[in-house]
């Protein structure tokens, strides 16, 4: 309260001006004594009293980055609580229909940016349908027509070697004839034919470069084409059509009749039986290979299809002509197969939620009828369609859209009827409880896992687990740390010495060993993990508390209180401990991310050790996603981004808290 106040009236009392003391104020005659005629007493504060916490809050709110971090953290924590409850997508059962869907945020075409589409380059196409080819092993196409957006840009790609998909869809290329033993001989023989020497027999073929595996060792392989007479099952190279040579041209057209006649030199022979064959002889101690592109045998201008082939790839796959056989140390494969590949934008969601044909069991049909989706009268006649109608409700929800026929099955004495029809996949999955929305426009924000589960929900369920672990650990560690540190610091002496050695030994054990030991000995669960984290986690807190007690226990106010008869407990908890309340709050907050981090590290390092059964922690989720870093990186990216955001926010928030609770920072930011 001001001692002086500005005078309202200009005149000054006469007795005051005569006083010597008031002489100094002469120039400031505007002032008067306020309390001259009042009694002085305490006046209630007009401003509101502030507490330590309110003051800290005020200062905390001034730091913009900390407040933002706190807000983001709040959102993430809220999401960790709400998402596992509110998101109805099933993350327990497998549903491979939704496997590996990429993240989708909006149901608009954003040119591939988080809209559930992707650009597929060089997917193998089926040359007949010009659509993505079905996998040879599973018989199912990886990319279906419903998902393809726009045109497929086709191109041909040359691949080496033979794979099952090359054989199924490839074209052209070369058949390789490879000698598989050092210095061996390989024969590649056509089926038997009767060669009429009176007719005009012509072969045309393309054979290319013969090479050895290691040209530096010298020696060249020899290759040739023969007509082999079959005599008692053995192949005798009777007629050399192209003598063994290393000097290969590309294309050969040979008049077989005259070549054979020239060699047998016996006009009484008018026909021979045998087969054509390629022969490859590898040089001493080496392997050799040659390439053959096609082989055409024609009699009087007509192609003999039982021996000829024009497309090496199709021929080797058994799609064209008839099979030639190998003799000797020989191996066949393909070289330079042409594959038809296509690049296109692909909508994974449209593909996953397309309609397909499906066989509905009688039980399923009955359940749809009971739910009031549809009506159906059975004909009980295989292949026919009974009376089928969708109700109003069914138009929205019924997974069957169309019935194409009844199916009858009998297993021993059990007869069963089922319906095949067009199934709406999203309605089916909604009805079965796999997804939460009855709409094909459902968005999985972080994509789906190998098991077709919503990764967004998995991640936040794991986060809830880890946050819970972090909060509990932090509370327990701080409690233990404060009590331990307070006792050790307050009493000092041999108590302190003993307790210090104990913490030193506990702290000396590497955390990962302790954790592993506990989990291996007691099994892996939330509670053992909590125990492992709490076993050494409190040491840091106890050290800080201890030093704080050393600092304050000798202070005068403590001495004063002790003189007044305060008990040890009162001194500890009422007088010394409150000095460190800010530090405790700060380290409590900062302990949560460090627990999440430790848990994630352990899950990363020891995936075999940490296992929570059906519930997943954040770290386990991340370490599982790590396996798909190359093939489906969106999982590890979204997980890592969330992890990074949490860590940054916790650090900013913790720093803000530390500054806010630090009394020496008071007024520093103002």
């Amino acid at each position: 309260m001001a001692l002086f106040k500005k005078k309202k009236a200009p005149e000054v009392p006469a007795e005051e001006t005569s006083n010597e003391e008031t002489f100094q104020f002469k120039q400031e005659q505007d002032f008067e004594f306020v309390q001259l005629d009042k009694s002085i007493h305490d006046v209630k504060f007009k401003t509101k009293p502030t507490t330590y916490f309110k003051d800290a809050l005020k200062r905390f709110l001034k730091s913009k980055s900390s407040v933002t971090a706190a807000a983001i953290l709040g959102v993430i924590v809220l999401m960790a609580i709400i998402v596992p409850v509110a998101d109805g997508n099933d993350i327990q059962r497998e549903n491979r229909v939704l496997q590996y869907l990429p993240p989708k945020f909006w149901d608009i075409d954003a040119g591939g940016f988080l809209d559930g589409t992707g650009y597929i380059t060089n997917a193998q196409l089926d040359p007949n349908t010009h659509l993505p080819a079905a996998s040879v092993d599973s018989g199912q196409a990886q990319y279906v027509e419903e998902g393809i957006m726009g045109e497929i840009e086709e191109s041909t790609m040359i691949t080496d070697g033979s794979t099952s998909s090359n054989l199924a869809y490839g074209a052209n290329g070369y058949v390789t004839i490879r000698v598989t033993t050092n210095g061996g001989t390989a024969h590649y023989l056509s089926p038997y034919i009767n060669l009429d020497l009176t007719a005009e027999n012509v072969i045309e073929f393309n054979m290319q470069s013969a090479y050895t595996e290691d040209p530096s060792k010298g020696g060249t392989p020899q290759v040739g084409v023969f007509f082999y007479i079959s005599e008692e099952g053995s192949y005798v190279p009777t007629y050399e059509l192209v003598p063994l040579t290393t000097d290969l041209e590309d294309n050969y057209t040979l008049d077989v009749t005259s070549l054979i006649n020239e060699q047998i030199n016996d006009s009484s022979v008018t026909a021979v039986q045998g087969c054509f064959g390629f022969e490859v002889i590898a040089p001493e101690g080496r392997l050799a290979t040659t390439y053959v592109k096609d082989f055409q045998y024609s009699v009087n201008g007509t192609v003999n299809t039982s021996v000829s082939w024009s497309d090496s790839t199709a021929f080797l796959a058994g799609r064209e002509g008839t099979a030639w056989t190998r003799q000797g140390s020989c191996q066949n494969s393909l070289e330079d197969t042409e594959l038809l590949v296509g690049s296109f934008r692909y909508d994974y969601y449209a593909a996953a939620f397309r309609d397909d044909t499906f066989t509905f069991s009688e039980q399923l049909i009955n359940s749809y009828i009971a739910k009031g989706y549809m009506t159906y009268t059975w004909n009980h006649k295989a292949g026919t369609v009974g009376e089928f109608a969708l109700t109003e409700l069914g138009k929205e929800y019924c997974p069957i859209r169309e019935v194409t026929g009844e199916v009858h099955e009998r297993f021993q004495d059990i007869e069963s009827w089922s319906l095949t029809g067009v199934r709406s996949r999203y309605r089916y999955m909604y009805d079965e409880g796999y997804i939460s929305t009855n709409s094909p426009n459902i968005c999985f924000l972080f994509g789906t896992t190998e098991y077709g589960q919503d990764f967004f929900k998995i991640l936040f369920s794991g986060l809830l687990f880890s946050l819970g672990l972090g909060v509990l650990t932090s509370i327990i560690n701080i409690t233990i740390g404060i009590v331990w540190g307070a006792i050790s610091g307050y009493f000092g002496g041999w108590v302190d010495l003993l307790m210090e050695r104990m913490t030193e030994i506990l702290g000396g054990m590497p955390f990962i060993v302790l954790m592993t030991l506990i989990v291996l000995l007691l099994g892996s669960s939330f509670w053992t993990l909590l125990l492992a984290l709490c076993l050494t986690g409190w040491i840091g807190m106890s050290a800080t508390t201890r030093s704080q007690f050393y600092r304050f226990k000798g202070r005068e106010y403590v001495l004063a209180s002790r003189t007044l008869g305060a008990s040890d407990a009162r001194l500890i908890f009422r007088h010394i401990l409150p000095n460190g309340v800010g530090m405790m709050v700060t380290s409590g907050v900062l302990m949560i991310p460090s627990v999440i981090f430790s848990e994630a590290t352990i899950s990363y390092l020891l995936p075999g050790v940490i296992n929570f059964g059906s519930s997943q922690s954040f770290g386990v989720t991340l370490s599982t996603a790590q396996a798909y870093i190359n093939t489906y990186p969106y999982m590890i990216i979204s997980g890592s981004v969330i992890m990074a955001i949490i860590m940054i926010c916790f650090n900013l928030f913790g720093n803000g808290l530390r500054d806010a609770f630090n009394p020496s920072m008071k007024g520093a930011q103002d």
Partner: protein, 352 residues
């Protein structure tokens, strides 16, 4: 001073001894994971017998096993039908033998899984150089870079440069190393294909030295980012504090240029807490980074520790633990001593 050092070293030995003893006993509570192949199995158990941890049940006592009077730790037949049964002594007896073997023969036991029948000490010695090499490179890179960044940030305090550097530091300190490694792998190994996604094996490295050299980039980056951020943050904080002190103002008043005052007065004083930090970084060179070695398949001791625990190869884990514990304890001692060297005002162990 020397008395203090000797006292501390004795204390370190005592602590390490207790820590290792507890770990040994705890690890012995877990079932042993014997080698897979029969010959290794027999060799392993015979070696255990010779070291005095267990005894082989003689043929005439096999009936005691059948009646349940002896419960063997392991009991198996070889290809010709010879029976082998071994019984472990109690944990306390084994512990005694273990201590005896270490002090008399320096025998830390053999590996059972990682490299069966090879001495655990030998395996560690083979793997230590790999971890050390990587960490040496990363310390050599991160120390000057981190300090430089910190100095720049402190000199430009409150300006855009400082804000930018501080934000980057904040991000690098917060983001866990496995996240950094994951992103580096996604971008540079799988996406662009510039860098290998795995540490090359010895034969691969010989065949393609360029790729082997490129394989250093990701691990060194992953190891350096965190320590660069750490150094930069400390340097910035220390230098900022020194810059606002009065002796620096005095130096400027005397007529020194800003550069002179920073280099001769501010930097020297701000190095007091940073030099111990560099030293502790150098010591942690030895320990390697478990997560990095695991993710990048680097055959260092961190990777071996994880592998040892996952496959329950406890001799290897014990040797590795001993290395880690001793490094950790000596690191604190050296850091404590280095304070006295850097700042003559600090005398460790001085009586009050």
């Amino acid at each position: 001073m020397w008395k203090y050092v000797v006292k501390r070293i004795l204390l370190i030995c005592l602590t390490a001894f207790i820590v290792l003893s507890i770990t040994y006993m705890l690890l012995q509570c877990l079932p042993v994971n014997e080698p897979q192949s029969l010959s290794n199995k027999i060799a392993f158990w015979d070696q255990q017998v010779s070291l005095g941890y267990c005894w082989k049940v003689p043929v005439e006592k096999y009936n005691l096993i059948e009646t349940g009077q002896i419960i063997p730790t392991t009991d198996f037949y070889d290809d010709v039908g010879n029976r082998y049964a071994y019984v472990y002594y109690s944990i306390i007896e084994r512990y005694g033998m273990w201590i005896f073997n270490i002090f008399t023969k320096w025998d830390w036991g053999v590996s059972t899984q990682i490299e069966p029948t090879i001495s655990a000490m030998q395996i560690i010695m083979e793997r230590l150089p790999v971890s050390m090499e990587l960490n040496l490179i990363s310390v050599a890179i991160s120390t000057p870079l981190g300090i430089l960044l910190g100095i720049v940030a402190a000199l430009k305090k409150g300006k855009f440069t400082d804000d930018f550097i501080s934000t980057v530091i904040m991000i690098f300190i917060s983001v866990p190393s496995f996240v950094v490694i994951s992103f580096l792998l996604i971008w540079f190994s799988y996406g662009l294909g510039w860098l290998p996604s795995q540490w090359p094996t010895n034969s691969e490295a010989l065949a393609d030295p360029t790729r082997a050299a490129l394989a250093y980039i990701i691990p060194v980056c992953a190891l350096s980012f965190g320590s660069i951020a750490g150094f930069a943050r400390y340097t910035r904080a220390e230098l900022c504090e020194v810059m606002s002190s009065e002796f620096l103002l005095l130096a400027r008043t005397k007529g020194l240029t800003k550069g002179q005052s920073v280099v001769r007065h501010a930097l020297r004083n701000s190095m007091v807490p940073i030099v111990p930090m560099i030293i502790s970084q150098f010591i942690s060179i030895l320990s390697g980074s478990m997560i990095l070695e695991e993710l990048y398949n680097i055959p260092g001791i961190g990777n071996m520790f994880v592998e040892g625990i996952n496959r329950r190869d406890f001799s290897v884990v014990m040797v590795d633990m001993a290395v880690y514990t001793l490094i950790g304890l000596f690191a604190t001692l050296i850091v404590d001593l280095s304070y006295g060297v850097v700042d003559p005002r600090i005398r460790m162990g001085e009586a009050k």
